[in-house]
C-alpha cells in the first residue's frame, strides 16, 4: 500500500477556471455551459458535446486543442492523455506536481462534467453484441475517477443534478467547497461502480454464466425509510437496475459472435 505523500491540506474553496464537459445525456447542457461561460469559466469539450456548445454560440475548446492529439480509433481514444489526466490529478499545492504541470504544459481542470455512454440503456434495449461493446465508455469513467480522486481540487459531476448543485455553489460563493467536492466524489465512484456492475452483468448474461465469480449489481436509491424493521435500524429502498438477462429474440442477438464478420453493425457513435 503506497503511503500518502505529504501533501499540503486541500483548500476548502476552489474557484473554477476551467471545466471539461463531455456528456452523453445533454439535458440542461447548454444552460449549464452558458452559466459557466458567464462566470468566466473556460470550457473544454469533446465531439458532440463541443459541437452542441459551439452551436449555442459559446466559446469552447476541443480537448484535441489541449492534447495536440486528434481524436482517434472511432473515438475510443480522445481524452486518455496526460494533458487531461494530469490536469485532473495534479495536486496544485504540491510543489513537485506544480512543477510537472508547468514543465509539461498541463493546465488544471477544476470541474468535470461527464455522464457516460448509455451502456445500461443500450444493453436493456437489446442492442447487438458489438453495439453493446462499443457503448462501454472508457474515457468517461477514467476522467470521473481521476477527478473524484483529486476532489481536493476538482469538482466532478456525473448527472445534471450534480451540475445544478455546482452551479448554485459557483453563483453563490464563486467556488466549490471541500465538502461538496467530497460528496460529489463519493457519488461519482458510486456511478462508475454501477456502470461496471452493469457491464459485468451483461457479460455474464451474454456468456450464460449464472454464478459469476463476483456478482456485482448496483441499487439506485428510491428513498430513505423512516426506519427498518425496528426504530433503531436505519433503512433505505433501492431499485434494481434493469435486468440484463436476455429474454427477447432481439436480446439474444447480444450473444457473442464466433466469426469476425461484423457486417451490419454500425455502432451508434456515442454522442460525446
Amino acid at each position: 500500500m503506497p503511503a500518502a505523500p505529504d501533501f499540503p491540506p486541500a483548500p476548502d474553496r476552489v474557484p473554477v477556471r476551467r471545466a471539461l464537459i463531455s456528456v452523453s445525456d445533454k439535458t440542461g447542457l447548454i444552460e449549464a455551459a452558458r452559466t459557466l461561460a458567464e462566470l468566466g469559466v473556460e470550457l473544454v469539450s469533446t465531439g458532440g458535446t463541443r459541437k452542441a456548445i459551439a452551436d449555442a454560440g459559446l466559446a469552447v475548446k476541443d480537448v484535441s486543442d489541449l492534447t495536440g492529439f486528434p481524436e482517434m480509433m472511432d473515438g475510443r481514444v480522445k481524452t486518455l492523455h496526460p494533458i487531461v489526466h494530469g490536469g485532473l490529478l495534479g495536486v496544485r499545492d504540491a510543489p513537485e506536481h506544480r512543477a510537472a504541470m508547468e514543465a509539461h504544459g498541463i493546465g488544471a481542470i477544476d470541474l468535470v462534467y461527464v455522464n457516460l455512454y448509455p451502456f445500461e440503456q443500450t444493453m436493456a434495449s437489446g442492442a447487438d453484441y458489438e453495439t453493446c461493446v462499443e457503448n462501454i465508455d472508457i474515457g468517461g469513467p477514467a476522467m470521473i475517477r481521476s477527478a473524484a480522486k483529486n476532489h481536493g481540487y476538482v469538482a466532478v459531476c456525473t448527472e445534471p443534478s450534480d451540475m445544478a448543485e455546482v452551479l448554485e455553489a459557483l453563483k453563490a460563493e464563486g467556488a466549490t467547497s471541500l465538502s461538496l467536492r467530497k460528496t460529489l466524489a463519493a457519488r461519482a465512484y458510486g456511478r462508475t461502480a454501477a456502470y461496471d456492475a452493469a457491464i459485468s452483468a451483461w457479460f455474464a448474461a451474454t456468456l450464460g454464466e449464472s454464478a459469476p465469480k463476483r456478482l456485482a449489481f448496483a441499487g439506485e436509491l428510491v428513498q430513505t425509510m423512516r426506519y427498518g424493521e425496528n426504530p433503531h435500524q436505519a433503512a433505505a429502498f433501492y431499485r434494481f437496475p434493469r435486468p440484463p438477462a436476455p429474454a427477447s429474440p432481439r436480446r439474444d442477438s447480444c450473444r457473442a459472435r464466433s466469426s469476425a464478420t461484423t457486417t451490419s453493425t454500425t455502432p451508434t457513435r456515442p454522442s460525446s
Binding site: 441499487g219 425509510m225 427498518g228 424493521e229 425496528n230 433505505a236 429502498f237
Partner: protein, 236 residues
Amino acid sequence: MATGVSLAEAYDRALACDPTSAFGGIVALNTRLDAATAAKVLEIFTEVVIAPDADEDAVALFRKKKNVRLLVTGGLPDPTVIGPTFKSVAGGFLVQTRDTSRLTPADLKVVTRRAPTDHEVRDMLFAFTIAKHVKSNAIVYAKAGQTLGVGAGQMNRKDSARIAALRAADFGLDLSGSACASEAFFPFPDGLIQAADAGCTAVIQPGGSIGDDKVIEAANERGIAMVFTGVRVFRH
C-alpha cells in the same frame, strides 16, 4: 434453545422444548462439540450440526453417519458488528442496518407494582434474546435458561401467546413461574392475560403502546412483574 451446565444438558433442555420439530432439524452450538453431545444429537434424525469447533471423538461419531453434516466454523460471529441486511421487494431491495441491540438488566424499566426477582430478570433477558430471533409476531416463554414455548410468525400477538403456551403444554412443559417475552408491545391486555393464565409470572416487552396503562393494570391485577425494554426487535 437452552443453556446448561454441560453442552449435553443444554442440548437435552433445548430438545425438550420441541422434540417434534427437531426431527430433520439443524442444531447450532456456541461452544465446542463434545462426544457426549454428539451421541445425543445422533439419536434423532438431524440434517446439520454447526459448531465453532469439535472434539476428534465427536467428529468420529459423525463420520459414521452418512446424512448428517457437521459444519465447523472456527469461531463465532460477533453479534455487535454493524453491517447491512437486505430484504427483497419487487423491483428492488430494502437495506437496513443490522439489529445489534443488546439488553442488560440496567436497560429494563419496571412498570408494575411488583419488581422482578433476579431469576426472573435472567429469564426475561434470555426469553427476549430468543424473541429477537423469532419471526414476528413472536412470543417466547422461558425459565431457568430453557425455552419452554415459542409462538412465531402469527398475524397477531395473542395467537402467538396462545400457540407458545399450547406447544409447551403439548410437550409437558410447565409454564408456571416462567418469563414471557414479546418482541413488540402488547397493544391490548389480551396477550398478557393469555401469558398470565398459562402460568408466567414475569413479562418483558418494549412498551410504548397507547394501551400500556391497561396492560400494566392487567399485570398488576395478576401479580405479574413486567419490564419495558424501550427497544423493539421485530424480525419479519
